[in-house]
């Protein structure tokens, strides 16, 4: 907008006005539905408001309570555990699937569809499919193996099970990103390396891996941010149970806000989660950048 006006010589007021009018709907919506709520959450975190937003200003009371809240730190640990169980496996599995699909000639579309189809399902359908497959009494896995493993009711198994369902659900998208990355690697590199006598394994480690790394680091960052925001699957599959072993930060926030009616406290939790995600993303971004320049 600025550059266009400058190029046209004297920026006429009429053009400026037209430009602003065009941007206006977006700016109004953006301020109204993003910036204002964000500021409001920051303010609410300093009050003892209920869920309707009525309450007194209490300074940093919420945060001092939060730092001593065992349940909150447990939820942070659970979230970190979930992130650990999903981010790297999801990325690695996406990469493996991409490698498997790319080398196919027959069945290619069929395999691609099989891997990608779960991604288009809504989360509640994913939940239904997971229950029909993994239910303790009627799940097909337990029926076929004759076991009675309580996938979602055993405290030790609940989180890995939810992570497994999440990976099953979302790996297709990572696979697509990796396939796009693999197809962007020029064929000439492989031909030249083959002429120089590089083995298949060497071609993989010295051509594929470094050239796919930008895609991999992008997927890792996206995954990290996405998985910190875990809520839907937990809410549907375990509701935080068994014995609160799968209570994640957002579920804890939801409970505080909508079940306990502590709006201010929930706002404080939300801000802490934002802080955690920002710190984790920055740390990861730095680590990946360093790896990239040395690779």
């Amino acid at each position: 907008m600025q550059a266009g006006a400058a190029k046209a010589g004297k920026p006429s007021n009429k053009r400026q006005l037209a430009a602003w009018l065009f941007v206006l709907p977006f700016i109004v919506l953006y301020l109204l539905f993003l910036i204002y709520p964000a500021i409001r959450v920051c303010y609410l975190s300093l009050t003892n408001s209920d869920i309707a937003g009525q309450g007194q200003f209490t300074g940093f009371n919420n945060f001092t309570t939060l730092f001593q809240d065992q349940d909150f730190w447990a939820s942070v640990v659970h979230t970190a555990y979930f992130v650990l169980l999903t981010v790297v496996p999801n990325t690695v599995l996406g990469f493996i699937f991409a490698l498997l699909v790319v080398r196919l000639r027959r069945f290619r579309l069929f395999v691609l569809a099989c891997f990608f189809l779960p991604y288009v399902l809504p989360v509640s359908v994913t939940y239904d499919a997971a229950i029909w497959v993994l239910d303790t009494n009627f799940g097909i896995v337990n029926l076929l193996t004759g076991s009675n493993i309580a996938w979602f009711q055993d405290p030790a198994l609940a989180m890995p099970s939810v992570a497994g369902v999440t990976i099953w659900w979302t790996v297709g998208f990572n696979m697509l990103l990796f396939i796009a990355g693999l197809q962007n690697i020029p064929k000439e590199y492989y031909e030249a390396a083959a002429l120089d006598g590089a083995s298949g394994f060497n071609r993989f480690t010295h051509i594929t891996c470094p050239l796919i790394w930008p895609v991999a680091s992008l997927v890792l960052v996206i995954q990290l941010i996405l998985q910190f925001k875990i809520f839907d699957q937990i809410y549907l599959l375990t509701l935080g149970g068994p014995f609160n072993s799968t209570v994640v930060v957002l579920l804890y926030m939801y409970r505080q806000a909508f079940l306990q009616g502590r709006g201010g406290y929930a706002a404080a939790i939300a801000l802490m989660l934002v802080l955690i995600i920002i710190v984790a993303s920055v740390v990861q971004f730095r680590l990946l950048r360093i790896r990239r320049t040395t690779a």
């Binding site: 065009f22 941007v23 709907p25 977006f26 069945f107 891997f115 499919a129 497959v133 029926l143």
Partner: protein, 96 residues
């Protein structure tokens, strides 16, 4: 990448890919055929993998006992509205 020769390793890789793909699609398949079973069939041991003849009672039940069409219209209204205004405002921003 492509050698054109038949290799054991390549064959095993393809086989693994197909097995993984079938395992990946299986929950969706299972969900679909479960919807075509009667209530008793869904929990029968051993489970049947191809319920024949298919039973559409569940679909009939859903359509008759819930305002399913209404829910569908709601979904369509929301998605079309959101798409329309998203494109409209984004287009205006890009034009300005």
């Amino acid at each position: 990448m492509k050698t054109g020769r038949f290799s054991i390793l390549g064959f095993l890789c393809t086989l693994l890919t197909l097995v993984m793909a079938l395992a990946w699609i299986f929950p969706v398949y299972w969900l679909t055929i479960t919807s075509l079973k009667t209530e008793d069939q869904t929990i029968v041991v051993p489970p049947s993998f191809v319920p024949w003849p298919p039973n559409f009672d569940a679909f009939v039940y859903v359509l008759q006992n819930s305002p399913f069409i209404r829910w569908y219209i709601n979904t369509i209204v929301v998605s079309v509205t959101v798409t329309f205004f998203c494109i409209l405002f984004a287009l205006m921003c890009a034009y300005a």
